[in-house]
């Protein structure tokens, strides 16, 4: 039975169990996501300031080492089994930043290690993160083309 075509009995059941089901704590989740997401960004800013102060980077070039450092930290936290616990607490707060992307890639790599380096790790590496890359590339292409056409005509 497909989700779209529920029978009257199924509709009735869904309505009936609504009061018995726990309500998702939306407000609390939003607050936790805001705090943890903000904290991750603040740590990123700290790392960025560190590179600007102690190394030969400027505002334009400091982004790359900062992101690389955050990815390294997230990958290590995933390996030590901590990031999934942060994720359960923070929800979107730890998925949306670049650390969430690092976690998606690292966790898939760890999970499929038992099936070997090629068919396990390499094949499954972007199992979760692949969608981000696909939509990132596609939307970048569309936005880029729009900008190009806009400049050509106006």
């Amino acid at each position: 039975m497909s989700k779209q075509k529920l029978t009257p009995e199924q509709q009735e059941y869904k309505e009936k169990i609504k009061p018995l089901q726990p309500k998702p704590p939306y407000l609390l989740n939003v607050a936790k996501a805001f705090l943890v997401g903000g904290l991750i960004c603040a740590i990123g800013q700290g790392i960025s300031n560190f590179y600007l102060t102690f190394f030969n980077f400027n505002e334009q070039t400091v982004g790359n080492p900062t992101v690389a450092t955050l990815i390294l930290i997230a990958a290590l936290l995933t390996g030590f089994g901590v990031y999934d616990k942060i994720g359960q607490f923070a929800g979107a707060g730890s998925i949306v930043p670049v650390t969430g992307f690092a976690n998606a890639v690292t966790s898939a790599a760890l999970e499929h290690k038992s099936e070997g380096l090629v068919l396990g790790v390499a094949t499954n590496l972007f199992k979760l993160a692949g969608a981000v890359i696909v939509f990132g590339a596609v939307s970048a292409y569309i936005v880029g083309m729009l900008r190009y056409l806009f400049q050509m005509w106006f």
Binding site: L6, K14, L20, Q21, P22, P24, Q88, A104, E111
Partner: protein, 340 residues
């Protein structure tokens, strides 16, 4: 007549559970029933190289313990009925490769525990076997990677989610008298009341449990008060109140004598969301704690209803709803002695 009513089997022979074996992982060992398991592991890998080997080790160990307690060898067993949650039930298949007992692999998702026990009893009753070994397993990490996300993925789960029990339970069924008797079983129908959220199995499976329990009462003419305990497999804190309400609508009141294995297996403060699930959830609680309660006389007659969600991730992604099933087995305390 062995077929009683529409879906209930009443066994004509005296059938007994000769022995059981249970093996569990760390979270279950730390739970309130930690003392009732035969073997506990401190680490989720159970000393093995990967998750699937860990689950297989749990299943093999539970079977070894079960056979040891009954002082039986694999050659003494006529049939091995087993299943698990992993694709093509490979955990059971590869375990059967080792023990060489004639094998029927079974799949009923988390209801496989009672599916194997009911069928095992029926096959002995029908004269097709003298000793049947039934065993099921589940493992939190193998289930996570197959049904959900990689174990270390930081996605947020809702409060309605359940936590797959890491463990395995085995039982040896025969006709030699022991303190635990199997008297009847009710085979369930597949129900689907339109739930499509794989993180809400309790709501999806409650109608199947309600249907099987109501059918059991209608088939046998019994009422909820005929049982000291009606125990469901893994409805969790979400499905339990739904089941009670559904049965109340059918004029069966189980509010005073119902419990759920998924709620017994962990403490509320453990990180298990709405409760435990998985084939092993009903198996380790039944074959450990509940049988002990029957043996020491605290319980006399129980109805164990194992619930299963018969989907896989592909069906969920294709926007299908979740079909579910429940099988019930009646276990009774017997005054006749046995090995244990």
């Amino acid at each position: 007549m062995k077929l009683t009513g529409k879906q209930t089997w009443t066994f004509s022979k005296e059938l007994y559970i000769a022995s059981t074996g249970t093996a569990v992982g760390p979270e279950e060992a730390a739970g309130p029933l930690g003392e009732t398991y035969d073997l506990t592991f401190k680490e989720l890998h159970c000393g093995q190289d990967n998750w699937e080997l860990a689950e297989r080790h749990l299943l093999e160990q539970s079977i070894n313990i079960c056979l040891q307690k009954a002082e039986k060898q694999p050659e003494d067993v006529d049939l091995f009925l087993s299943g698990d949650l992993i694709n093509q039930t490979v955990i059971a298949n590869y375990t059967a490769r080792q023990n060489k007992i004639p094998f029927l692999g079974m799949f009923g998702a988390c209801s496989t525990s009672m599916e194997t026990l009911a069928l095992g009893a029926a096959l002995i009753d029908g004269g097709f076997a003298n000793h049947v070994l039934t065993a099921v397993s589940s493992h939190n990490a193998t289930a996570e990677r197959q049904f959900r996300y990689p174990t270390e993925y930081g996605g947020q789960k809702p409060d309605t989610a359940t936590y797959t029990v890491t463990g395995a339970g085995a039982s040896l069924v025969g006709t030699e008298p022991s303190p635990i008797k199997i008297t009847s079983a009710t085979i369930g129908r597949v129900m689907d009341l339109g739930i499509s959220d794989p993180f809400d199995m309790g709501s999806a499976m409650a109608p199947a449990a309600a249907d099987t329990i109501a059918t059991h009462f209608n088939d046998t003419g019994r009422t909820p008060t005929d049982y000291d305990l009606i125990i469901t497999g893994d409805l969790s804190s979400v499905g339990t109140p739904i089941l009670k309400q559904l049965l109340q609508e059918k004029k069966f009141d189980i509010s005073s004598n119902h419990q759920d294995c998924g709620l017994l297996v962990y403490r509320p403060d453990q990180p298990v969301f709405a409760g435990g699930s998985g084939c092993a959830c009903s198996a380790v609680v039944t074959y450990g704690h509940l049988l002990e309660e029957l043996r020491n006389g605290k319980l006399k007659k129980i109805l164990v209803v194992a619930t299963g969600a018969l989907m896989n991730p592909m069906m969920i992604q294709q926007k299908e709803t979740i079909p579910t099933i429940a099988h019930g087995v009646v276990l009774e305390a017997s005054s006749k002695g046995g090995h244990e």
